[in-house]
């Protein structure tokens, strides 16, 4: 299943076909930036014509689904979170001024899951205000991060790129999926690869 997903993440044939036309000399660059969506990420990447290395730190949080406090605005006690630190390698494809990429690697995750309900404390009054308390399950694990993304052509003199990134981490404790809007800086320092 994961293998199929990964292969599906690899770039569309149309994009690859265009690459052969556009890749006359794709630049080499270090780029860095932020991502925000159903999670938040800081990323840095080194892009070469046929290779990329990507580092990311991402945090995602959500509320447990089956507690009395479930819901987007549920009690913070039911909040689950996962922080990921990951290193990935992958393949970028330039299409016009924009870029597609797919990457996979190794990641460390540190998470906390809202666990079983334990007790409630209540205030007195006609409308008592209950506060619920839960056990929490904490874990650390190694897993496989994957990422597929798109970056727009560089905008402005600094060649700032905006884009979209689909991210996942597969690990034995809690698989996490994120879709983030991204911004990348550093494209203005791109240079052509040195000829051997």
């Amino acid at each position: 299943m994961i293998k199929h997903l990964l292969l599906g993440c690899l770039l569309p044939n149309a994009a690859l076909a265009q690459t052969t036309r556009m890749e006359s000399s794709p630049p080499v660059s270090w780029e860095y930036g932020l991502g925000l969506g159903n999670g938040a990420a800081i990323h840095i990447a080194h892009f070469r014509p046929h290779f990329m290395a990507l580092g990311r730190v991402r945090s995602k949080w959500w509320h447990a689904a089956d507690t009395p406090d479930s819901g987007v605005f549920g009690d913070p006690e039911t909040r689950s979170r996962q922080v990921e630190v990951a290193a990935l390698v992958g393949y970028p494809v330039a299409v016009g001024g924009s870029r597609f990429y797919a990457a996979a690697g190794l990641g460390y995750v540190n998470g906390s899951q809202a666990g079983e309900y334990r007790y409630t404390v209540r205030t007195s009054g006609l409308l008592s205000d209950p506060k619920n308390f839960y056990a929490h399950y904490q874990y650390q694990a190694l897993g496989m991060p994957v990422e597929a993304g798109w970056q727009s052509p560089g905008l402005g003199p600094e060649k700032v790129r905006v884009g979209l990134s689909g991210q996942a981490n597969f690990n034995p404790q809690q698989a996490v999926f994120c879709l983030l809007a991204t911004v990348w800086f550093g494209g203005g320092n791109a240079h052509s690869p040195k000829k051997p």
């Binding site: 994961i2 293998k3 990964l6 292969l7 690899l10 690459t19 052969t20 890749e23 046929h50 290779f51 009395p68 006690e77 390698v89 992958g90 393949y91 996979a104 690697g105 906390s112 666990g115 079983e116 309900y117 334990r118 007790y119 409630t120 404390v121 209540r122 205030t123 007195s124 009054g125 006609l126 409308l127 008592s128 209950p130 619920n132 308390f133 839960y134 056990a135 929490h136 399950y137 904490q138 874990y139 650390q140 694990a141 190694l142 897993g143 496989m144 597969f170 690990n171 034995p172 404790q173």
Partner: protein, 204 residues
Amino acid sequence: MTKASRFLCALAVALLALGGFSGCTLTTTTVEPALPQGRVNDSNTVAYLFNGQAVVAHNYSDLSTLLLNPILSQFGGGGAPVQAALRPDGTLVLGCVDAQNIVRPGYVQHGLAWQIAAFRGAATYQPLPAGTAFQTQTRDAADETWRRGPVQPLAAQAPAEVVVTEWNAATRQLRGTFRLQFAAVGSTPAAEVREGRFDLVLAP
């Protein structure tokens, strides 16, 4: 085969190899919520760990308890979830149930009672086996009634103590700690109650 194609093939092989890597767990820990310190809602409060799980019982009043308790008391029910009294013969009695908790199918309520004889203020006491017991009841998912477990007596020869750390005869404020072990009954496993604490104002 172009350089790009070769690299793409190598990347695909690498991804397939990584696909076989399902990761590994480094550490896991279950963290209990902290037990409250002192009195919750400025009311009689008992808190403890039951087989490692946090249990808190305290008194409160809202519209439903104000309306229902007088009716329930006519039928022998109702009353405060945490009750304690010092009897004229010097026996200190405590009973508590975490009745302020949410009632949902599968949820559990914990009832605990202990007694100590010859109360003399701050000291360490052995609980009286005859007046000390533990019982759970579980909310049934099918008919939404309580399914009571057996009454579990104190385990024989297990460490059990109630420590009164503070007693003010004028305000009748009573504070202390306890640890108890209850015997298995039938299919109900033994229960260990530890890190217990109470903060009460005894009824006159």
